[in-house]
Structure formats: structure tokens, C-alpha cells
Amino acid sequence: MADHHPTGIKRWLFTTNHKDIGSMYLWFSFIMFLVGGAMAMVIRAELYQPGLQFVDPNFFNQMTTMHGLIMVFGAVMPSMVGLANWLIPMQIGAPDMALPRMNNWSFWILPFAFAMLISSLFMEGGAPNFGWTFYAPLSTTYAPPSTDFFILGVHMMGISSIMGAINVIVTVFNMRAPGMTLMKMPLFVWTWVITAFLLIMVMPVLAGAVTMMLTDRHFGTDFFNAAGGGDPVMFQHIFWFFGHPEVYIMILPAFGVASEIIPAFARKKLFGYSSMVYATASIALLSFVVWAHHMFTVGMPVAGELFFMIATMLIAVPTGVKVFNWVATMWQGSMTFETPMLFAIAFVILFTIGGFSGVMLAMAPVDFQYHDTYFVVAHFHYVLFPGAIFGTTAAVYYWLPKWTGKMYNEKLGKAHFWISMLFVNLTFFPMHFSGLAGMPRRIPDYNMMFADFNQLASIGAFGLGLSQLLFLGIVIATIRGGKKAEDKPWDGATGLEWDQLPCPAPYHTFDTPPKVN
């Protein structure tokens, strides 16, 4: 009875089961990851050498724009929601998410939103070409007609994220098993609750920004049009008021994943649990007062630059606390290096590199040189690829036995890790140097002097792209014919989902609340 569920397409269309919806989110985000990745391949192929080889500059701009939008809204965010769906009910001892039907809807909006966004590539005038940050007036006065599809797409994915976030908050606040106090919750749940609050605070602001774009484009308003008394710089303020918390939306759940995996394979309790919770909360709070560090060069008064610079550098403190705690958890632990642990350790190291370049960018005086160069590209790819995406990858390897009841092939998993590790650095590390030397971002052609660094980055990108197909192969092979997993494949793993549920987790879990120690 516990495993009874409808079959065929109807199971997936009408499901309200958090595990089914979690799987659909994860598969959807992986498909988007491949689509966005394919666009990155076009970008890197064009940049393999100076001059124009494969695509014309306008199409190149469409590629950078769509790559950014698809990776942020289609790959990283849904993958985190997928993990939340699978894990949060099991980790807090709830039978399902609090609002299962809304859960179904919030997933099924996404394919339509992205179909709309991607369809703009095939329209007259091409897809949006103004960068994923869609600054006005590029996105208003000078934008292609397909921008309206982009606007409605953003509205839809925003609604989906907001519903997902509300669902997480209600689930965690109202459906914890008796005895599961807030400060006993696994860190993945904590980071997700905080992420969910960020989502409901800033996604509506993004919706407001695109609505203003829409009315500026078609209904004669002048929010961002200087001729009518508006101000294009205000667009940047509104966008980054959303945009900066957004970067923490993408990374905080990965923090949670690392905080689950590292203790499991170090066979020690997480060092400084409560400081982890407070650090995550302070990062989230600070993220609301730092937005203008993305726009130091618009001409701000010195007082403004000082404020945003200092507030930004302050974020390094709670982030430092987290990194310290992860390292202290590993300190003198009996560590083993299975694939999830490898990805988690690489996450800590490489995310920290991305954090450091972030501190460099936070300094207003030097940012004048770094602004809009490849250094910025290197920075945010270091926090997003080996940060958010390695975090998700680690989570998939770690919980795959719980989800499927099968073990992945450890040898192939490790191969996937080392290949990714090599190529991710080969792709993004040279960008630091080309950026510091002055190569601007979002250009299809560049000065000869940047040729070597770009060639390295392109080779790295092709390898990195291919190695993700290996990941796909490993996951499919595990589902189809992996070895049967034990109920507790990781001896150091703790938490309700490992201690009280078999592998694979039955379709319905915790119909009666578990006992929490």
C-alpha cells in the first residue's frame, strides 16, 4: 500500500507527491543545465580565438543572455527546489509538503515559462540580447520584440519560485515531527528556510522591475526613460535589490548540502551548528544592503561607495565562519573520500576562491578597473559552478541511494569528480588573468593579447561540458541497474532520512510522525 501510485504520464502530470515532484524538478533542471551549457559551448567556441568565426555578434549576445537566464532561473534554482522537495519532508519527519497541489502547479509552470523564453530564439529579431541583467534602456528602447516573451517568462518562473518558497516555509513551520525543534533541524532545512524567505522578499521586486519594463515598452510610462523624467540608473538599483539576494538564493542551499555531507564522511558532528544557522541568517540579512556594489561605476558619491563597500566586505565574516566550521568539522575526523565528499571538499575550496575574488571586487576603488571584465565572469562562475552546481552534484551522489535504492558506480563517480575538478579550473581560472589584463565581458571578439588565456578557457569548457554527460550516464546507469544499496550506505550519515527510512525511501513516508531524539 505504501508504494501504491498511478502509473504512466498521469502519475507525473497529476502527482502531488513530494518525491515525484522533486524528481521532476531535478530532471528539468538537468535538461536546462544541458541547454544552457550548449549555449556556453557556442560562446566558448566563438572565443576560442580572436576574430569572428562562427556566429555574428548579435547572436553571440543572445547566447550570453540566454545562457545566463537559463542557468540562473532554469538550472540552479529549480535544482535547489528539487532537492528541497525530496529532502525537507523526510528530514523533518513530515509525510509530504504542506501544500501538495500548489507544489504540482509550481513545477508545471516551469516548462511553459522556459518554452516561452527559449522560443524567443526562433522569433524575428532574435532572442533577448541585452545580458541576463537586462539593463534599461537596452531592454526597453533598444530591445528586440521578443523581449515581451522574456518578460512573461520571468513572471511565470517568479510565480513558480514564490509558490515553492511559500510551500517550504509552511512545511517547515507547521509540519515538523514532534520533538523536531527549530535548532534540531538539519542545516539543509535551515538554509532552505532562509532561502525561501529571501525568495518571497525579492522575487516580487523582480516581478515589479519587469512589469515596469513592460509598461515602458508598450504603455507609455517612463520609469526608466530619461526623456520622460525617468532614470535608467534606477533600473539598476531595482534590479540589484533583487539580484544580490538572488545570488544567496542560489548558494545557501548548497551551503546546507555541504554541512550535511562533510560531517557524514568526517564521521564527526558538524562543528558549530548554531553558529552555522546564525551565519546563514546574517548573510541573508546583509544581502539586502549591498546591492549597489554591482554598480560602483554609475557615479555614486563617495559616502555611498564607502557604505556599500564596507557592507559587502562584512559578508566575508559570516561566510568565513562557515568555511571555518567546515574545515573544523574535517579536522581530526576519520575522513573517507567517496564521491559526495570529494565534491563537498572541492566546493569548500573553490567556493572560497570565488569568495576571495568577491572581496576584491567589493573594494570600490579597484572595482573601477575590474568592472565588466572577465574577472567578474571568473568570480561569479567560481561561486556558481564549483559552488552551487558542485553542491547539487554532491547532493545527488549522496542521496541517490536514498532516492533510487541503488548505488552509483564509485569508480565512475570519482572519475566524474576529477575530470570536473580539472576542467572547471581550466575553464574559469584563466578568466581571472584575462580579466585583470582588461578583457571586457560580453564580447565576441577580443585583442590578440588575450588569445592564450581564452584558448585554455575554451578547451576547459568543452571538457567540462562533456564531463557532465558522464554524470548523466552515471545517474541513468544507477537507476537502471545499479547495485542494491544498503539501508544505510554511508556509515557516518545522520538524520531522520538515514536513521528511520529504508533505501529506497518508500513512496509515502512518515505517515505517522517519527520519534525524534
Binding site: L99, I166, V170, N174, I200, P204, V205, A207, M212, A226
Partner: protein
């Protein structure tokens, strides 16, 4: 918790969370006036204020401030537009007049709107205009040319470290927007 209690607790929480979502959506629009108010109080984005009324005050003959004028024309605006004076030195407190020149070089009537901006941004608080073409829109017939006066004074409170003010005007073509608006009211 029983099921109904659970449902009620959920509903209460959902209403609050949806309230936050709605509030933040409105907040995005509230940012627009807030932004203007903030910039006007602090004068940080170089937006000049509206019409000022000149009160004769003691002119500070000891100080000189150089005021420079820049003009620039937006894409798709077939006008000539320039300042007849590139820069003048003024004493804080005294009323000055400069002239700008505009000519419609196209073959149809066009309505133009200039948007002023001052650099450094803090200077916007101290440059007061008593008369300016930028307060209104200009309609020029095909080939028509015009000299437009602008009267201003620099506030005697201007901080010592500001020795130069650059007043820039950007000229926009607003013909379509004006005609759409008046068509709508007809």
C-alpha cells in the same frame, strides 16, 4: 495537531506570506518615488530641482565658481542644439543668464525635451535655475531656429571644495509620446 488545526495554521501562515509577497511587489514600485526623494534630498544623482525663485542676497565676490555647459542629442533627434557660452565664471549669489541655440533641421515639426544633469552630483543642490527651457517642451517647426535663455544662480552656501560645476543637457525627441498622449485625451 489535528488535521483541521493544521489546515488553519497553514492558512494563517500562507496569508501572511502572500502578504509579504504583495507588499514586496508594491515596494518595487514604491522604490520609484523613494529613489527620487532620496536623490533630491541628498542631491546625489545630479538631478536639478524645479524652478527656483531668486532672492537677492549678498554676492560673494571673493569666490568664483566655473560653470560649464554641455549639450548632447539623443539618437533619432534631427536638431542642432548647443550652448552659446561654453563656460562662465560666476560669483555665488549673483544671477546669471546664458543662451542656448536650437534648430530643427528636419522637414517636420518636432517636440523636444531637454533633461538636465549636474556633475559633481552634490552640486545639484547649489545650482538654482529661475528660468530654463528644460522646464517645458519645445515645439519647433521644420527649419525653425530659436535662442533659449536660461537664468541661474549658484547658492552662496556652496561648499568650498566645489570649484567647477558642469551642467549637461540631453535633448530627446518626445514628439511621438506627446502626440500619443494628446491623442488619448481627445
Amino acid at each position: 495537531m489535528s488535521e483541521t488545526e493544521q489546515n488553519q495554521a497553514n492558512k494563517k501562515l500562507i496569508v501572511r506570506l502572500v502578504g509579504i509577497v504583495g507588499g514586496m511587489f508594491l515596494f518595487a514600485f514604491a522604490l520609484v518615488p523613494l529613489y527620487d526623494v532620496f536623490c533630491e534630498i541628498t542631491g546625489i544623482n545630479g538631478k536639478t530641482r524645479g524652478k527656483a525663485i531668486y532672492q537677492s542676497v549678498e554676492v560673494n565676490k571673493q569666490r568664483e565658481v566655473t560653470v560649464e555647459f554641455i549639450t548632447d542629442i539623443n539618437r533619432g533627434m534631427p536638431w542642432e542644439f548647443k550652448s552659446l557660452v561654453k563656460s562662465i565664471k560666476v560669483h555665488p549669489g549673483e544671477l546669471n543668464e546664458v543662451k542656448f541655440y536650437a534648430k530643427n533641421t528636419s522637414r517636420k515639426d518636432i517636440i523636444g525635451q531637454t533633461v538636465p544633469s549636474i556633475s559633481p552630483g552634490e552640486g545639484a543642490l547649489y545650482l538654482n535655475k529661475t528660468e530654463c527651457f528644460c522646464f517645458d517642451q519645445q515645439r519647433l517647426a521644420a527649419g525653425e531656429e530659436v535662442e533659449m535663455p536660461m537664468k541661474f544662480y549658484v547658492d552662496s552656501e556652496i561648499p568650498d571644495d566645489i570649484t567647477h560645476l558642469t551642467l549637461s543637457y540631453k535633448l530627446f525627441n518626445v514628439t511621438d509620446a506627446v502626440e500619443v498622449a494628446s491623442g488619448a485625451t481627445k
